[in-house]
């Protein structure tokens, strides 16, 4: 195992706007909240937890656009389109 990370996550947050009842303002559900983690070359890193939803989102990050800054994230046009 080398000391060089192959994957470096820095304050990765995955959030979704959700509505509770029609008319309510959308709230931000932070499924992954500021995860900072290094994965090193050649290692097997286990991720465990109680509810798989959270882990799923961490895993889905390489398909979606993660962001360090939530506000910046929401102002990105691509993102707004996806949730429109």
């Amino acid at each position: 195992m080398s000391v060089e990370p192959i994957l470096a996550l820095r304050e990765v947050t995955m959030s979704f706007p959700v509505r509770r009842g029609w008319l309510s303002r959308p709230l931000l559900l932070r499924a992954v909240n500021s995860v900072t983690l290094d994965v090193y070359t050649g290692e097997a890193l286990g991720i465990v937890g109680e509810f798989r939803v959270w882990e799923d989102h961490t895993r889905a990050l390489h398909r979606r656009r993660p962001s360090a800054d939530l506000r910046q994230d929401l102002s990105t046009p691509a993102r707004r389109r996806r949730h429109a």
């Binding site: 304050e11 500021s34 983690l37 994965v39 070359t41 050649g42 097997a44 286990g46 465990v48």
Partner: protein
């Protein structure tokens, strides 16, 4: 160095090549209308390796052998295989592009216990042969302990502890890890009632209404005032561990650098 937050097609395509997934359900994750050849050749085609039938067949045959299936399996459809064999096909599909990182999402939880060990051994062998880095998402802590070098424990979307697997299982530092470990069934009936099982009260907090302070404090047996008002960041604990817990960070064993890693707000 690749920025995984880039969303342009070129970056995404390269990522899709370097990071591959093994899925949980060996039944749902293989298209029943595609032959094993088509399933395994698809990533090679998509990523522009070749369109030559002979070349693709050779690659597919070699990959099938590596995961312990006979090359003539490529002519058949997924229904002809058992759960364990299908998971081998899923692994072959993930590895045929020679990725650097494999995300194994509960890769063995859908399998019979007897098959589980075979698939884990296969993954371990392939990992060594191909120099893979594996992100192993799992609930079976026994499997995680046996398979992983390090473990990250997540609670309510946050990493609350990271430690080498053996150390984590020997001496959990975060109260949530402690609870998780206490829930692992003890195979030896003579030891079964000697261990303390910690039952958690309440639910995982609503992520829309995160508790103030530490996310775990409403369910934590050790919570004190600071836990209720101030969230601990993941910080180094001991030599090669990290934990987000005030109890440990106040500990002299912890090398203080609170606020270095973790949450920004």
């Amino acid at each position: 160095m690749l920025d995984i937050s880039r969303r342009d097609r070129a970056a995404q395509a390269e990522l899709a090549r370097e990071i591959r997934l093994i899925f949980q359900d060996p039944f749902g994750s293989l298209n029943p209308r595609m032959t094993v050849f088509d399933i395994l050749a698809e990533p090679l085609r998509v990523h522009g390796e070749s369109d030559d039938r002979g070349f693709l067949e050779a690659r597919v045959a070699a990959m099938l052998e590596r995961v312990g299936l006979r090359p003539d399996a490529m002519r058949r459809y997924p229904h002809a295989f058992s759960g364990g064999q299908r998971q081998r096909i899923g692994i072959a599909r993930a590895l045929i592009l020679r990725p650097r990182i494999v995300v194994a999402d509960e890769a063995v939880s859908a399998l019979d216990v007897s098959v589980r060990a075979q698939i884990l051994n296969l993954l371990q062998d392939l990992r060594e042969e191909m120099g893979l880095t594996i992100l192993f998402i799992g609930h079976d802590l026994g499997v995680v302990r046996a398979f992983c070098d390090r473990v990250a424990v997540m609670y309510c979307g946050e990493v609350v502890e990271v430690a080498p697997a053996e150390e984590l299982f020997r001496a959990p530092a975060h109260p949530y890890t402690e609870v998780l470990l206490s829930a692992v069934p003890e195979p030896d009936p003579r030891l079964r009632y000697t261990r303390r099982r910690i039952a958690l009260v309440g639910e995982v907090p609503d992520p829309l209404a995160r508790p103030a302070g530490c996310v775990f404090h409403p369910r934590c047996a050790y919570a004190f005032d600071r836990c209720r008002s101030e969230a601990p960041a993941l910080a180094p604990y001991g030599r090669n561990r990290a934990v987000a817990c005030w109890r440990r960070l106040d500990d002299p064993q912890a090398e203080a650098s609170v606020g270095q890693a973790g949450r920004s707000g």
